[in-house]
Symmetry: C2
DNA sequence: GCAAAAGTGTTGGAGATACACCCATGA
DNA sequence: TCATGGGTGTATCTCCAACACTTTTGC
């Protein structure tokens, strides 16, 4: 039906990786954004992202641009979706392979990269206007995260090396936006056998110390059910 | 850490869409392949696929190359995953956005496209050697399909406009590779309220005719649970 | 009337939900 | 001793799995 483009007839589109880095701080889901220093859309907030290098795989690209622009390393990363509508990126044809990254909030020291005007966390419910279709990318990332809570151990990617069950429950509640029953939550989580108690306790305030747990396989996300 | 490539320093990779078209015939999951006519890998079987046009969105590209190479139109399509490791496609850097397509077997008249040596269905357990990393793409597609059976109405995409409950059960069994209890299957499917009875019956042989059902929203895949 | 697939309910068990009180600590 | 969050068990309900016989047709 359609005329078939000749091989190499048109210049190939640019390919970028974009990173939606989420964390939880103060019981709120937060997103890391960079303010663009360069044209197009200088001054506008956007996801960290950049072009794929000639000998670089997509995942490495995502990790590299994240570090270059924000200084963040060592996060959990998974591919989200590829966005490629013509016109989504202004005049230039850009195909963006979007990644979701997750990290515990404690870890993260920010740096403002060379081509970036600013780097900041935003509450997911209070995002500024975003460049291009990045608001759509974020929406997909958040809805996928919410879905994955139910059938995987992905929430553990938000936790420090050791953590209390109440902290973990707080993470679930922040993402789902609803309170959970403490006893049932503990029963379910422990039944997965994905975390194990350590011999240490968190002494946080004027109350009984909480036992610290750790993930059995910290970098692995297990599919359950 | 890594040296940041200058903007436009290296030629951008080629971007293609690749289509894993699955159907069910004779109670077996089948995959549509094309035999490559042109270099590289002439004579080798591969997924239908081709370069993304300059003003074409990724999904349109997938549908276009599928039609050009195989004559197939009107299928259900969803994005699967993007494959981009350097070296996956020989010397040239190619990033492939893979799509899963599903269709009822009845529908499909095949054509051998202009750049194609042959077009054929293969039983999913008896695939020939495939070009590049297409075996990996197929494996991801099948495992995602299997997972999606459990929490969506995706199986309806394999059905003709009207179908019997036994036919639908056969589709589930073919994909899962295990028999299902007839009464429980019917209860569960009907409880979803995604299909409805018609007033017609299928008279297939020397036995009681089966009531025909149809999908309430034939092109829509609903997420359940 | 016989072969072949269609159609139809009930029961028991497992897993999820709802729910309230005692414990250990710091101030 | 009081305020604060940590920690624990049971009863009920809902959902899922197992299971066998009758119906309708074509030959």
């Amino acid at each position: 039906m359609t005329a078939r483009p000749k091989r190499d007839a048109s210049p190939p589109p640019a390919v970028t990786a974009e990173v939606t880095l989420l964390t939880i701080d103060d019981a709120r889901l937060q997103l890391l954004l960079v303010r663009r220093a360069a044209s197009p859309l200088a001054g506008v907030w956007s996801l960290p992202g950049g072009r794929v290098g000639a000998r670089e795989c997509l995942e490495d690209c995502a990790l590299r641009v994240l570090e270059e622009e924000t200084g963040v390393t060592g996060v959990y990363l998974e591919q989200l979706y590829t966005f490629g509508k013509p016109g989504r990126h202004g005049r230039e044809r850009v195909i963006s392979v979007a990644y979701t990254a997750l990290a515990p909030r404690g870890d993260i020291a920010l740096r403002v990269g060379p081509d970036v005007a600013d780097t900041r966390w935003f509450d997911i419910d209070a995002l500024p206007k975003l460049a291009f279709d990045h608001d759509e990318i974020v929406a997909v990332a958040v809805s996928r995260l919410r879905a994955k809570l139910d059938y995987s151990t992905i929430a553990l990617q938000f936790m420090d090396e050791s953590f209390t069950l109440s902290e973990l429950q707080g993470v679930y509640q922040s993402i789902l936006g609803q309170p959970l029953d403490k006893r049932n939550f503990r029963k379910q989580i422990l039944a997965l056998e994905s975390i194990e108690p350590t011999s240490r306790y968190a002494r946080n305030g004027s109350h009984r110390p909480a036992r610290l747990f750790r993930a059995k396989h910290p970098r692995r996300v297990e599919i359950i059910k």
